[in-house]
């Protein structure tokens, strides 16, 4: 693992950000706490997605599957009388295990096939939760025992829980970014054949990355379920969420440390201030953003070399970049 100066600065900035957010939690009103919790949750999902989708470069569209799975594991466990934090840990383990099993099959697919395979998991799990009424309550949904205490304290508790989870996801991200595991994932993203030829156990790395994504998604879902105290299939396994998470991370920069965070912040700001006023334009705006990002800044906020971009824009058009000969 190489922790050079830029990496240490990123680590310090990141940890300070979360510490600040945690302290600020004491000053926020109920609405602000809710937005903050939602932001932390989306950050966790984006950072989880970033491991498989960003560092490893597998276009995963299944975060909602793990999120929903976490929701139901938490709900069912809590209904069965398991204490709240233990139920979360159970969801973490369940998410990792499910990801491992699904990964054994899905990670043999590539590109679009992988994307479609993962999106199918969301659909399948939603249908299961819709129809397995004795366990999940079916379409009616499932009530989760509400935490004792006044609403404000409870709200603050979930805010801190989500923020802690986000900090954990951030630390995992930065370790991956600097470690031989993350280095291997980046090699896999570019050329799997060459990666195995330099001695990387490609399949094991892929499964491990997928498990981390699954565990983070599932844990976020569990905390969410305990917080809202009621879940139903269409809320837990939402196709919109599965796409939004990928889009947010692309916006911020795939395979970067701060990309997922920046994407989540941008998204929450957009949602709270724009969509609240233009609710009918929601899908249109989202679509427009996707197109703009993919066409003009595919690297996202943190994955684009802005200096080079502006330098190129400032220069006259005659300077056609010479393509490397193959």
């Amino acid at each position: 693992m190489i922790f050079d100066r830029p990496a240490i600065i990123k680590l310090v900035v990141g940890v300070a950000l979360f510490m600040g957010a945690a302290i600020a939690g004491g000053l926020l009103d109920n609405y602000q706490l809710q937005v903050g919790t939602s932001l932390a949750m989306l950050s966790v999902l984006c950072m989880g997605w970033n491991i498989t989708g960003g560092y490893m470069g597998y276009p995963m569209l299944g975060m909602a599957a793990f999120f929903g799975l976490g929701c139901y594991i938490d709900a069912i466990a809590q209904v069965a009388g398991i204490p709240v934090v233990a139920a979360w840990l159970l969801a973490t383990a369940g998410g990792a295990l499910t990801a491992a099993l699904l990964g054994l099959a899905l990670l043999r697919l590539k590109g679009h096939y992988f994307a479609i395979g993962t999106i199918a998991i969301v659909e399948v799990l939603r249908e299961v939760s819709n129809n397995w009424e004795s366990l999940t309550g079916g379409a009616v949904g499932l009530n989760v025992p509400i935490l004792q205490g006044d609403p404000e304290t409870v709200g603050r508790f979930f805010y801190l829980a989500m923020a802690s989870l986000a900090l954990l996801a951030f630390l995992i991200t930065i370790v991956i970014d600097r470690s031989r595991f993350g280095f291997g994932l980046r090699c896999i993203r570019q050329n799997e054949q060459a990666a195995s030829m330099v001695g990387i156990d490609v399949f094991r790395y892929k499964v491990a990355a997928f498990m981390l994504s699954g565990a983070l998604g599932s844990t976020a879902g569990a905390v969410y379920a305990s917080m809202v105290a009621f879940i139903e299939p269409k809320d837990a396994f939402s196709l919109i969420m599965t796409i939004e998470v990928a889009v947010m991370t692309m916006l911020g920069g795939m395979g970067t440390i701060f990309g997922p965070l920046a994407g989540a912040v941008f998204f929450v700001v957009l949602r709270e201030f724009v969509w609240a006023n233009f609710i009918n334009w929601h899908s249109g705006i989202l679509g427009l953003i996707v197109v703009i990002v993919i066409y003009f800044v595919p690297g996202g906020l943190f994955g684009t070399n802005w200096k080079a971009l502006f330098r190129r824009a400032a220069r006259p058009r005659a300077s056609v970049r010479s393509q490397p000969a193959l």
């Binding site: 190489i2 031989r180 280095f183 291997g184 570019q190 195995s196 030829m197 001695g199 990387i200 490397p324």
Partner: protein
């Protein structure tokens, strides 16, 4: 010392590979000694690259066995074989295009070379210096010209600390002076005790490098021995140039006053 030096480091026993009924590699048995350079030649489609793929675990054998350092590796996965010390380059270069040249070479050192990240950086710089790529260390691999990409493949393989290095046409597409440099480099690598198997189309490269050559044709070994005599073998000439020309060639050779 001499007893262990004579023992083969790599041995192929009746190795075959069938693709849809075509025997791409047909019952090949070969052995390689530590530190020797062997030329693997043959016309297009003779099965040379397939043989390399079989040794490196990239393609599974249909039959036969591959023994490396006294152990069968025929069921091992490619990454395990790479870690055990068998490195290869690809005929069509396979860089990690968006990583820097240094990172490309580091990848070889980290996994197959069993280095820590920092140690890998040093090792990679050494290999880049050896292959004369040090000045490109921070450039993206995609920006390299072909000759340098071939060198990058070589540097990456060297960083893996291999005991056997299989070079699949590392000289194809290079100009004459680049080839001379590559030949000198390969000799130097072999001097470190690394066994080298070169797949090559250019006769002058094979003669300059390998004392021993193996000729494949239709997946089978048609000739094997000292490079000079292999090139005179009528069967080899026939494999390359066809039956008619081989006869004509043999006649004109015998007609020539010696």
């Amino acid at each position: 010392m001499s007893a262990s030096a004579d023992k083969p480091i790599l041995e192929l026993r009746n190795v075959s590979r069938v693709f849809d009924g075509i025997r791409a590699v047909d019952n090949v048995s070969l052995s390689f000694k530590a530190g020797e350079i062997v030329g693997l030649i043959g016309p297009n489609g003779a099965g040379k690259t397939t043989l390399v793929n079989l040794i490196s675990g990239f393609v599974r054998v249909s039959g036969g066995d591959v023994i490396y350092e006294g152990r069968s590796i025929v069921r091992d996965k490619p990454h395990a074989i790479a870690r055990a010390g068998i490195a290869r380059t690809f005929q069509i270069v396979q860089p990690f295009a968006q990583m820097t040249v240094l990172e490309n070479v580091m990848a070889g050192a980290i996994y197959a070379g069993h280095c820590g990240m920092r140690q890998a950086q040093e090792k990679a710089m050494e290999c880049l210096a050896f292959t004369k790529l040090a000045s490109f260390a921070d450039k993206p691999a995609a920006e390299l010209a072909l000759a340098n990409r071939k060198r990058l493949e070589l540097a990456k393989s060297l960083a893996m600390n291999p005991r056997i290095l299989m070079l699949d046409e590392v000289n194809a597409g290079l100009n004459s002076s680049e080839i001379d440099q590559a030949i000198a480099m390969i000799h130097e690598i072999a001097g470190q005790g690394i066994t080298i198997i070169v797949i090559e189309h250019l006769m002058r490269v094979v003669t300059a490098l390998a004392k021993r050559a193996v000729v494949l044709h239709h997946g089978a070994v048609v000739s094997e021995g000292p490079t000079e005599s292999v090139f005179r073998d009528p069967q080899v000439i026939e494999a390359y140039l066809g039956n008619k020309f081989a006869k004509h060639f043999a006649e004109s050779m015998s007609a020539m006053p010696s």
